[in-house]
Amino acid sequence: MATRTRRTSRTAASTATAVRVVNLIPKSLSYESEQDSEPNLAVNPAQPTQMAASAFTPNPLGGESAPIFLSGDGGRTWRLNASVPSRGETQDITLAFSGRGGTLYAGILSRPPGTRGETRLRILRTSDYRSPAAMTVLRTRLGPDQPFVQAVTIGGRDRVYVGTNDTAVDSRTATVEVALSAGTRKAFRSARIETRATDGQDGPQVRPACHPDGTVYVGYAAWRGERGDFDANTLVISADIVLVRDDKGGAGTRPFRALVDPSDRRAGRLVATDVSFPFHSSGEGVPGQQRLGGDLTLAVDPRSSRRVYLAWADLQGDVYTTHLRRSEDGGATWSPDLRVIAHATNASLAVNRKGHVALLYQALEGNAARWVTHLERTTDGSTWSDLVLAQAPADDPPAQFDPYLGDYAHVLAVGSTFYGIFSASNAPYLEHFPSGVTYQRRVDFANHRLLATDGSVVPTSIDPFFFRVAD
């Protein structure tokens, strides 16, 4: 007979550091076995109990709207709210709250795509993140990829930055959609930030990070060469890792030109040159079922806009490897690698108000048997503590589509607390979650079964997991 259990397990270590890990799938969707990958998270800095999260989660009933997850109690419980104007589900989606006022912004690739298969970027806004009404569409464009939204409130106005890899333009595709007062439909303009010739394009990650003093950084990979074949799943890109900066929020006619590289006097500091990374067309046959296509993340210290951290992934030999570096002078000069992590992807960085740094990543470990989700933290950049949030099987479930875990996970800081989200197998074994876990959906941990509300057994799938780590 099926047993209804809802359990939380905490290790001594996790209790000491006040860790909370929660599976976001709500009880009423206990039957679901979708691949809820590529998660993102926003926490309202003015009211940190309010959160919004996203993943490749379809609307349970289909229809003309897609859902996001909402929490009003600090991430203890989550609900699915169908308020995103995208048919049934989204493609890529990221979320950010404004600095004040609780306005939620989203950058999505909406459905349906363009009539010729183009991606359809939408930038969205709602003043009430819990509202059932469709979010207001502020901007629509065909072609951009991987919209990554960040927001900050300065002088009572929301500044919103959406980094995209704009495949609608030729060659210099790194782009930021900028709004210095995001309350109106015509607030956004496209800033092209690539100043050099490329091997056809940049990206796919174009990641902004903003500071309350008006400083905005954007990091991206500039493609310089390639070998192999995309369709044969052998394409390898050679690239430079580039950082641009604007000290006035992206205002003016030539935005993001504040940081110049000494080698060619062009805007955009070359943080690392001649790196290479695979650009897979599919995760089929790739270890861990996860397609790879570069990683890039950055975070700015809230105490000083000159201190910025940047991480990316490249091939060291044939090992996909994450690197982390720091600049103390606004990106002009850079430390050597602070961290080098083999077999790691989906890196995400955050800096809290104490200046402590969190690095989230997912590493393929145990001879490619497990995806292990780590949160490493440091107070000084040299000594790191490692918190394992999940160590889930890499072959269960089999992938339904690409990407298996997502092309990103996410961590952010509000005050001194780190909040984040990752996707992993929901196979119900407590030992997969050494920092503890709570499932909202019905689960029988004793017998390692997921259960629908009627007690029938549900297959393993990829679920999004929220975490909160007090620092």
């Binding site: 009880k27 859902p67 709210n81 104007p85 010729r116 991606t119 059932p132 469709a134 990829d145 495949t167």
Partner: protein, 300 residues
């Protein structure tokens, strides 16, 4: 369950334009009994009109997993002006709102209960029929037949000559020079559909006009999140295709390298596709032909 949870009062005005944009369509139909007015099965639901707790007596139309809602209490946000009283029974046509500890739905229409429903499998079937009806209505042409060939779509044709690997030379300045004039190509993306063209030998036309014995249909080979649900065709597949006319292919995204591979295998591109598969429902088994024809007739 938070039975009797108080409903928050609406504060302030809704932003202009926010509510008008919702294009939800009816997706869950059930008969139910009003249990409590001004209450919800979950706490802290935002204002969305008057709320009520309603017991689901019978699911009329829903995706298969949700037929388990029968016998459960749900929260309904009332979107119409029908007067409700505790104990009233209606057929509720609803759209999704919140899935949490319980389920909350928005009422689109309320009507008198027509007839009792007994068949446990009728609800998912009715839902599937409603979904299929919509796609039949949306399709430009509906054909049945057999796939006789699949190859790269003309959209995959590279606009420039095939390039060999260009290793980086020197520092950033020298390298910038080296790639100063790359041959034009479209950027590639992980969302690249990787278009393929299937030639179908047509044996019946269920909707629209198609005079030729064959039809060329474009479909995405990619299993990226953007495309994985769209049917992938292979030679020998037989069935019914709900087809959408294509637009000129010259600005289709990505796929340059896909063509290189196929070219190396000596497989030329197919003729330009007239039609395209868009939805998972656009390929139906041949056994569905009579149903599709009936739905097509109804949609005229």
């Amino acid at each position: 369950m938070a039975r009797g949870t108080s409903v928050p009062r609406r504060r302030g005005r809704t932003q202009a334009g926010e509510r008008a944009a919702s294009g939800a369509e009816p997706t869950l139909v059930f008969t139910g009994t009003v249990r409590e007015l001004g209450a919800a099965t979950m706490p802290d639901l935002p204002h969305a009109g008057a709320l009520a707790i309603v017991r689901v007596d019978h699911v009329v139309s829903a995706p298969a997993p949700l037929r388990g809602l029968a016998g459960q209490d749900v929260t309904l946000a009332r979107g119409d002006r029908t007067r409700w009283a505790v104990g009233d029974q209606f057929t509720f046509d609803t759209a999704p709102w919140v899935f949490g500890e319980s389920v909350a739905l928005r009422v689109l229409r309320t009507s008198a209960i027509a007839a009792p429903h007994r068949d446990a499998h009728a609800a998912p079937r009715a839902h599937a029929d409603r979904v299929l009806q919509k796609h039949v209505s949306d399709a430009d042409v509906i054909l049945s037949g057999r796939v006789v060939d699949v190859r790269a779509a003309p959209e995959e044709e590279p606009p420039g000559p095939t390039r060999e690997t260009r290793p980086r030379a020197g520092g950033p300045v020298a390298h910038a020079r080296a790639v100063a004039a790359p041959p034009p190509r479209r950027p590639i993306s992980e969302h690249d559909p990787r278009w393929r063209a299937a030639t179908i030998a047509v044996d019946d036309v269920a909707k629209g006009r198609h005079g030729q014995a064959q039809a060329v249909v474009r479909f995405p080979a990619s299993r990226d999140v953007a495309w994985w649900r769209v049917p992938k065709l292979k030679p020998g597949d037989e069935g019914v295709w709900l087809l959408h006319r294509t637009e000129p292919p010259q600005r289709a995204t990505g796929g340059v390298r896909a063509k290189r591979t196929l070219r190396a295998k000596g497989r030329p591109a197919a003729p330009a596709a007239e039609y395209q598969l868009v939805h998972p429902e656009d390929f139906q088994p041949r056994s569905q032909l009579a149903t599709v024809k009936a739905l097509a007739k109804r949609s005229r």
